[in-house]
């Protein structure tokens, strides 16, 4: 059988961002995969030595729009640790509320795109209809729909009053109800199962060996979620990671679907437990020292290494995003698959190229 090399991407209907795979196929079966990155690499880490450490919050928020709040939270946590700052309890809960809203809108975006990848247009639109309501909550509480810019070093810049929290709770009830309506379609529909069950299987041992992160790892049976570290105020909330064991595309969609419902629960808990008080403390001085900090982004573990020398510029900022960790897994699961399944399988890890190419 002769080999053919098929270019997949960088421009492809399933990719909102440019990623390229050189697929070697025999007949229609993939035998080798070679990834190519660098189409939109921006060198944002390099800006850390040029920008003020306070200005870097705006930079890290723009590493990725979809999880901007969580990037900024991770960065602020790192700087706060270096400056030995303990943020107010209310600020910690507010960070959880906005970060979980972010996770919801990211997962809903993905669920829609995933449905679109196998041609289920109406399901795509239904998920995005729900996502709009989450974006409305972001807009009403922060002034922005996606890049919410609420984090500052020392806390958050906005507060939620009782009326806003009640409004969020009522909207979450609507989101939960709408998700319930789509549950049967996503998890029981013949078309969805035909395109996703048994496709792109990543077994638990392989997922661990390849350093996989986030829902991709949890769908393979790894109970690994950085929220278990208890950062912000997660240690005060009841939380268990959502885990599936099949390791296929269907399991990945189930994990993300259930995590939307889990985020609703976490926001309810946070609102129930939030205390009155300050939302931000004034921070003086400049950071000095080295630290590592981790949080759970919608796509998985987000890792920051920060090195500061007591000046206004950081000496080094290193960002490891979850998609960067999940690409090796993709290279492992694609060989042996049909060419027609590649779009669904590639999308199943929720690739975020703007994160990958910081």
């Amino acid at each position: 059988m002769s080999k053919t090399i098929v270019p997949f991407g960088p421009q492809h209907p399933v990719f909102p961002e440019p990623l390229h795979f050189k697929l070697t196929v025999e007949d229609e079966i993939i035998t080798e995969v070679f990834p190519a990155l660098g189409f939109v690499h921006r060198g944002l880490e390099g800006l850390a030595i040029r920008q003020d450490f306070q200005q870097m919050i705006q930079v890290v928020e723009r590493v990725c729009g979809i999880c901007s709040m969580i990037h900024a939270m991770c960065y602020c946590q790192g700087i706060e640790e270096l400056m030995e700052v303990e943020i107010p309890p209310r600020a910690k809960m507010l960070r959880i509320i906005w970060s979980e809203l972010h996770r919801m809108q990211s997962h809903l975006l993905w669920l829609g795109l995933f449905a679109d990848s196998f041609g289920f247009e109406s399901l795509f639109m239904q998920f995005w209809k729900i996502r709009e309501r989450v974006l409305d909550m972001n807009e009403a509480t922060t002034g922005n729909r996606v890049i919410v810019s609420v984090n500052v070093i020392g806390g958050v810049r906005r507060d939620l009053d009782d009326q806003q929290m009640k409004w969020i709770l009522s909207n979450l009830a609507w989101v939960e109800e709408e998700m319930g309506r789509l549950e049967t379609t996503l998890l029981s529909d013949y078309t969805v199962k035909k395109r996703t069950v048994g496709k792109g299987v990543l077994v638990k041992e392989k997922a661990f060996e390849l350093g996989t992160a986030g829902p991709t790892a949890r769908a393979s049976g790894l109970a690994q979620d950085m929220r278990m570290l208890g950062y912000a105020a997660f240690d005060q909330l009841d939380f268990e990671p959502v885990v599936q064991t099949d390791g296929d595309c269907f399991a990945r969609s189930k994990v993300r679907f259930q995590e939307v419902l889990q985020s609703i629960d976490l926001i309810r808990q946070a609102i129930a437990k939030i205390s009155q008080g300050e939302i931000c403390i004034k921070v003086k001085g400049k950071p000095e020292g080295e630290t590592f900090t981790r949080v759970e982004q919608p796509r998985g573990e987000l890792f920051y290494y920060i090195k500061a020398n007591g000046s206004k510029h950081l000496e080094r900022l290193r960002i490891r995003t979850p998609t960067f960790a999940n690409i090796p897994a993709l290279l492992s699961i694609l060989p042996g698959m049909w060419l027609s399944d590649v779009p669904v399988v590639v999308l199943s890890i929720d690739p975020c190229i703007s994160c990958t190419e910081r």
Binding site: E290, R316, R318
Partner: protein, 136 residues
């Protein structure tokens, strides 16, 4: 702050990494830091049960580093990234982009290095120039 950082030599690196793989550590990533005009530090981050462990190697500019990608395949991407951005060569990379992961083949500079080593024609030795940290 930094906890559980173990300094290892270049020669012992791959062996130490292989040992902790056997102990059940998951590969997280590498972080490269340019210490000064002569030296780099590379941190190797691993996780087990949400607890991080770090190895640190210090290398002199111009020296290569053994790749850990034969042990942890997932390391090949970040090692290629460091090759691109810092100009450090990794020996034994399982997939070597030869500094074209992010950069075009004709690029010879090291975008994330504060210090740039340049050959001065006629002088016959390398000159070290520190780049500005201020915005242009």
């Amino acid at each position: 702050m930094l906890h559980d950082v173990t300094c290892v030599s270049r020669e012992a690196l791959v062996g130490e990494v292989a040992k902790i793989k056997v102990q059940g550590y998951r590969f997280v990533t590498l972080s490269c830091v340019e210490r000064n005009e002569e030296n780099f530090d590379i941190f190797y981050h691993f996780d087990k049960n949400l607890s991080l462990k770090h190895f640190k190697i210090s290398i002199t500019r111009g020296l290569s580093v053994p790749s850990i990608s034969p042990v942890y395949f997932a390391a090949f991407l970040v090692e290629n990234e460091i090759q691109d951005l810092f100009g450090i060569t990794f020996e034994g990379l399982v997939v070597d982009y030869e500094r074209t992961l992010y950069l075009e083949p004709e690029i010879r500079s090291t975008p994330f290095c504060r210090y740039t080593v340049t050959e001065t024609p006629g002088v016959g030795k390398a000159a070290v120039v520190e780049s500005s940290t201020e915005d242009p």
